[in-house]
Symmetry: C2
C-alpha cells in the first residue's frame, strides 16, 4: 500500500516557537514545505514539482524573513506583495501559505480538485495576489500594483518572481523597459534561474546569454546570488533597500527539483539523456516514496542538528500501489497527430514544424528527431513563432505551428491575422483544447480558440475525435486545404475510442452519425464531448429515449443539407461545445438551423462550457458545468418530456 | 488653384543614364522620391510623411546601390529581400519602387484608393515582400525568410527595417533572442532611429536607453551611422559582409521628416510645443506648396551641381484650394469620449487612463493634460499596458485602456483574458473600430474585435452612434457596469449626426428605433453604418418601401422582448455589422431570432464586412463590400420584392 502523508500545521508552529537560529527555522520550514508539496502533487496526480522546489527557499525566505505581509495581514494596503508570474510552481507556494496559517489543511489536501486549490494561482485563494500561469505577464501586473501603491502613498514593495524560460516572452522586455521609464521603483523582480525549461536546458531551447548585462542595459539594478542560501538572499534584500532610484532584479541561481536528489536538474538531465523529467506531472509510487524518504531524512537531520524532535507525517491517504492508469492503454489523438506528421514529412519536403517549448506535450518529438532541420524550436515566444511561420510560408514552406490553444490562439492572435492577410497557407494546431484536463485551471483550459480564429475569412477549423480522424484531418489540411487551417486537439487520453461507422469517409462539411435516434440529436466533436454524448445516449436508452449522437469535426464549414439529413425526424436539436457558448460550433449551427426551413421550428439547445472553466478532475469539471453524460441525459429528458 | 505634380518615370531614367557620380545619382533620386511621396500623400488625403522621409535615403541606397534585387528580379529566389516592419512609411517605399520601374505611374497616383496602393504594405503590390503595419512583427517574419533561404541554399540577404518606437513592442525582443540562437545570420535589421513616435519624442514616451549596448548584449553585431549619408551606409554594409557568425543590426540615425525643413523632427517639435505634427495625415495646401517648393529647389540645386537640367513636375491634378473639410464641422464620437472621460475623472478619483502612444488619436489629450498623474503613457507595448491595468484594477483603480481595436483586442488578447479571469472591472476602448477610414488598410481596420472579446464570460460590448450616446455609454460603463466593458469607437468624423428619438433613454439591452417602417427592419450600430442604413431608408422611401432603422449600441447584451417589439410587423429582419460576419452583432441577433417564436419564421439576413477589408475612400470601401446605402437599398428591394 502507498501511504500519502503531510506535515500538519502544529509541526510548523513547533518550529516557529522553537528557540533556534532564524535561518535554521527557515531551513526546516522549507524542508517541511517540500514534503507537503510532493504529497499534494502526488495526491492530485499532477502538478509542477521541479520549479516548486527551485523557488521554494526564496518564497519561504520572503514570507518568514523579509516581507511584512504576515505581520500586517494579507489585506493590508501597506503590505509587501509577492506573487509568481510563471505561477506553475504554486504547489510550493500553497505549502508556504499553509505553513503560515493562511491556507487551510483541508484545502491543501485538495490541490487541483473542485473547491480546492487551482492548478495555477487564482486570487480567490487566500494569499494569492494575482492570477497567473500564462507566462510573461507578471512584471506588467506588478507594475500596476506598484503604481497603485505610489498613487495612494501606500508602503510596501511589490516582488514578482519570473521563470528563466519565461524571459523568452516578449512582454517581459516590454515591461522591463516601461518600469524603468515610469520609475515604478518599488518593484522587485526575482528570476528563478533554474536553467531548465519544460524538459530541456534553457541554453538549448533559446539561450538567454548574459542575463545580468541584459537587465543592466535595460536600466535595472541587478544582483545575483544562490537562491537557496538564506544569508545571501538576506544580504541582497538589504542592498536593495539602498537603491531607490530604479527597480531591482535578483537573478537567483537555483536548482530545478532542489531537495530531492534524483529530481535535481543536473542529475535528472544526465540520467535521462538530456531531458528533464520532473517539470510537471506526479511521480510514480516508487519515486514518490523515495522522494519522501529523502526529504524526511534531511528534515530530521536538520531537526536533530538543532536539538529538536523528529518529524512525524500525518497520513491522509492510503492507496493500492500502481493502480492501472488510463493513459497506459487509452488512445491519444496527439500521438496519432505526431505520427501523421512524420509520415507527411517524408512525402512533403516543404513541411516544417514549429514549437514553443512544448514538443513532447504536442506529440512533436518523433518529427523533431526524424527531421531536425525542419523542426524549429522557438522557445516560449509564440508571437515570434507565428510571424516566423508567416515568413516561411511566403517562401514556399508549409508551416505547422504548435502550442497550447490558450496561448497560440490568444497571445499570437494579431500575428495569425497578419499571416492570414497574406493568404499563404499555415496550419495552426491548438493543443490542449477544451475543458479537460481541468487540473491546471483557467490559464490553461482553452475555451475561446474557435472564437479567436472564427472571424478570419480564410481559415478552416477542425477537431478530430479519434486517431483515425486525426490522420484524416491532418492529411486533409496538409494535402487538400487551399486556405489556412486551425486544428484543435485534446491533450488527454481519450475516455473511450470513438468508433466511426464502417465505411465512413471523411468529407468536407460532413460528420458521422454515431448512434441512431428519433427523439433528439446531439452534435458534438472531439473525444471528450463525444464520450459524454454517448454516455448520455446510453443512459437515455435505458429510459426508452433514443438520442442520436453526431460527430462533426468541421467546426466552421458545415454543409446545411448534410446537417438537415442527419437531424432527420428529431424534434430536439442540440449542440455540445468543448468551448465557450459564444463564438464556438454552437453559433455556427445556430446560423445553419435558422437558415433551414426544415429545422428552424424544431427545439434548439446550445450546450457549452459556461463561465470560467472549473478546476478539478475531469468528472468534477464536466459535472460542474452540467455537461457530463448524466447531466446531458437529464437535459434531454426534460426537453423531450416537455415537448 | 492647387496643383499636384509628380516626377514622371522618364526623369528617373534620365538620372540613371546620366554620367555622374553614383552617390550624386542617389541624392537626386531621393529628392525626386520625396517629391512623389509628398504629392501621393497630398493626393490621397492621408499617409505617413515623417517616417517616409526619415527612411527614404536608406531605401534608395539599398535598391540602387546595395541589393541585387533589381538586377536579379523581384521573384528570383537568390535576391536580397527588403521590407519594412513598421510599414507605415510605404508612401516613400512606393515612390522608390516606382522610380525602379516596379510600380506603375497609374498605381502611384492611386495611393490609398481602391485598386491602387494600400495604406500599409501588401504583398499583392509588386516589390512588396510582406504585409506589415502592425508593429513588431518584422524581424520574426524576416527570420522565417532567412531560414527558408538557408534550408533551400539560396543566396541573398534578408534586410528588415524597424522603427524606433516599434522597439517598445515585446515581439521585437523575442525575435532578437531567437534569431541569434537559431543562427539566422543572413538577417540584417536597420533601425530607422528618427527619435520621434506618433507625436512625441521616443525618449519622452518610453526611452530606449543605450540601444547599441542593448543589441550587443542580445548577441547582435551592431553598427551605427547617419542614415542619410550614402558613403557611411555603404561602409556599414561593406563591414557587415565580413561578419558571418551572427545577425547584424544598423542603428541609422535619421531625421523624421528629413528634406522639408519645417517637417524635420527637431524643428517641428520646437515650433509646435513638443508635439511633432507630420507623423500621419496630409499637409494642408500651404504646407504642401511650401514643401514642394523646397524639395524642387533642393533637387534642382543638386541637378545643377551635377551639370544636369532642372526638373519639371508633371501636373496630375488641379483642385480648388482649401475645400471645406468634413472633419472641420462634423461630430466626432472620439471627441465626446475624451470630454466625458475628463468629467468622470473629476468625480471618480480611482479612474486611471492608459495609452499606447495614440493619445491624440484616441481623444485622450484633455485627460492627459488635466490629470497627468492618472494618465499612463505606456508606449507601443499593448500587452504590458493591459496587464498593468490588471494590477491597477486589483488594487482598487478603475482603468480605462485605449488603443486601436485591431491592436488592443488582438495583440493583448491573452492579457485581457487573464485580467477578466480575476473578475476585476476594466474598460477597454477599441478605437478605430470597423471598416472606415479605409485608407490605412487591413492592418488597421478592426473587423474582428467583437469576436475577440465575445467569448469572455464577463464583458459587455457596446458601440455608441453619436456624441450623446457616447457619453451615455462611458458613464454607464464607469458608473453602472458590474463587469468589464469593451467600447468600440469609430475614429472618423461622423458622416452625419445620428439623431435619437426625443425622450429616448439609454437602457441596458435596448436600442432606439430611428425611422419607422413596415417592410423591413435593419439593426445597426455606430455612426458609419447607421448613416448607410438611413441612406438606404431614404432611397427606399422614394420607392414606397419603408425600412425601419434601429440603433442597437448593445452588441452582446440584447433584450429579446425589446428586439421582438422593435421588429414589429416587418417580415424582413436584417443586421448590419461594422465587423466581420462571424462573431459579431449579427451572430448575437441570430441567436435571438432563432430563440423567438415570433421572429424565427421571418426572413433574416446578416450583412457585414465580408473578406478582408478593402482599402480606399469610405465610399469606395463601403461599396466594394456591398454595404453602402445604395447597395443596402438594393438588397431590401430584392428581398422584399421576392416575398
Amino acid at each position: 500500500m502507498l501511504k500519502i502523508g503531510f506535515v500538519p500545521y502544529n509541526e510548523f508552529t513547533r518550529i516557529r516557537d522553537a528557540n533556534i537560529e532564524e535561518f535554521d527555522k527557515l531551513r526546516i520550514v522549507s524542508a517541511f514545505c517540500r514534503l507537503n508539496t510532493l504529497s499534494a502533487v502526488k495526491k492530485a496526480g499532477s502538478g509542477h514539482l521541479g520549479s516548486s522546489f527551485s523557488a521554494l527557499d526564496i518564497v519561504v525566505f520572503l514570507y518568514f524573513n523579509e516581507m511584512n505581509t504576515l505581520d500586517l495581514g494579507i489585506e493590508n494596503p501597506d503590505r509587501d506583495i509577492y506573487f509568481s508570474s510563471k505561477g506553475h510552481e504554486c504547489p510550493g507556494m500553497y505549502s508556504v501559505l499553509f505553513s503560515a496559517g493562511i491556507i487551510s489543511y483541508e484545502k491543501l489536501l485538495k490541490l487541483r480538485r473542485l473547491g480546492g486549490l487551482d492548478g495555477h494561482p487564482d486570487i480567490k485563494i487566500p494569499g494569492i495576489e494575482a492570477n497567473s500561469g500564462s507566462l510573461g505577464m507578471g512584471i506588467s501586473k506588478a507594475k500596476g500594483m506598484g503604481l497603485a501603491k505610489m498613487l495612494r502613498g501606500n508602503e510596501g514593495r511589490v516582488i514578482v518572481m519570473t521563470g528563466d524560460g519565461e524571459l523568452q516572452e516578449g512582454q517581459i522586455w516590454e515591461s522591463l523597459q516601461t518600469t524603468v521609464h515610469q520609475k515604478i521603483n518599488n518593484l522587485h523582480v526575482i528570476v528563478d534561474f533554474n536553467k531548465i525549461q519544460t524538459d530541456k536546458a534553457v541554453s538549448e531551447i533559446i539561450d538567454l546569454r548574459d542575463l545580468e548585462r541584459k537587465f543592466e542595459v535595460f536600466g535595472w539594478h541587478v544582483e545575483r546570488c544562490d537562491g537557496h542560501d538564506f544569508t545571501k538572499l538576506s544580504q541582497v534584500f538589504k542592498d536593495f533597500k539602498g537603491v531607490t532610484d530604479r527597480p531591482k532584479v535578483l537573478i537567483a541561481d537555483t536548482v530545478k527539483g532542489k531537495g530531492v536528489s534524483f529530481m535535481e536538474g543536473p542529475t535528472s538531465l544526465k540520467s535521462n539523456g538530456g531531458l528533464y523529467q520532473w517539470h510537471s506531472g506526479a511521480p510514480d509510487d516508487e519515486a514518490y516514496e523515495a522522494g519522501i524518504r529523502e526529504l524526511v531524512e534531511s528534515a530530521n537531520a536538520e531537526l536533530k542538528r538543532c536539538g529538536l524532535d523528529s518529524l512525524t507525517l500525518e497520513e491522509v491517504e492510503t492507496r493500492e500501489k500502481r493502480r492501472p492508469k488510463l493513459k497506459d492503454s487509452a488512445e491519444k489523438v496527439v500521438t496519432a497527430y505526431g505520427e501523421a506528421l512524420v509520415k507527411l514529412g517524408e512525402k512533403r519536403e516543404e513541411l516544417i514544424v514549429l514549437d514553443a517549448d512544448l514538443s513532447a506535450d504536442c506529440g512533436l518529438r518523433p518529427f523533431e528527431n526524424r527531421f531536425p532541420e525542419r523542426f524549429v524550436e522557438n522557445g516560449i515566444a509564440e508571437q515570434d513563432m507565428v510571424s516566423m511561420a508567416g515568413g516561411l510560408a511566403l517562401h514556399g514552406f508549409l508551416p505547422v505551428v504548435n502550442s497550447f490553444g490558450v496561448f497560440l490562439a490568444s497571445r499570437a492572435n494579431e500575428q495569425i491575422y497578419a499571416n492570414a492577410s497574406e493568404e499563404t497557407k499555415i496550419i495552426y494546431v491548438c493543443h490542449y483544447s477544451g475543458l479537460i484536463p481541468a487540473g491546471p485551471g483557467k490559464s490553461h483550459q482553452s475555451l475561446r480558440d474557435i472564437s479567436l480564429f472564427g472571424a478570419l475569412p480564410n481559415c478552416v477549423i477542425l477537431e478530430p475525435c479519434n486517431a483515425e480522424e486525426t490522420r484524416n484531418v491532418i492529411e486533409w489540411c496538409i494535402n487538400e486545404a487551399k486556405e489556412s487551417c486551425m486544428v484543435r486537439l485534446v491533450i488527454s487520453p481519450s475516455p473511450r475510442t470513438i468508433l466511426l461507422p464502417e465505411g465512413h469517409t471523411f468529407k468536407p462539411g460532413e460528420g458521422a452519425v454515431l448512434t441512431s435516434g428519433r427523439d433528439a440529436v446531439l452534435f458534438a466533436y472531439g473525444p471528450v464531448m463525444l464520450h459524454e454524448a454517448l454516455l448520455a445516449s446510453e443512459i437515455l436508452e435505458e429510459r426508452n429515449i433514443s438520442l442520436k449522437v453526431v460527430n462533426m469535426p468541421w467546426l466552421n464549414r458545415l454543409k446545411s443539407d448534410w446537417i438537415e439529413n442527419s437531424v432527420g425526424e428529431c424534434e430536439l436539436i442540440m449542440t455540445l461545445d468543448n468551448h465557450a457558448p459564444i463564438g464556438g460550433f454552437g453559433d455556427m449551427m445556430t446560423s445553419v438551423v435558422l437558415g433551414s426551413e426544415k429545422l428552424r421550428n424544431r427545439k434548439f439547445r446550445k450546450l457549452a462550457v459556461n463561465g470560467y472553466p472549473a478546476c478539478g478532475t475531469p468528472q468534477e469539471a464536466l459535472k460542474a458545468h452540467g455537461i457530463d453524460g448524466e447531466s446531458l441525459a437529464h437535459i434531454v429528458l426534460k426537453e423531450v418530456g416537455s415537448r
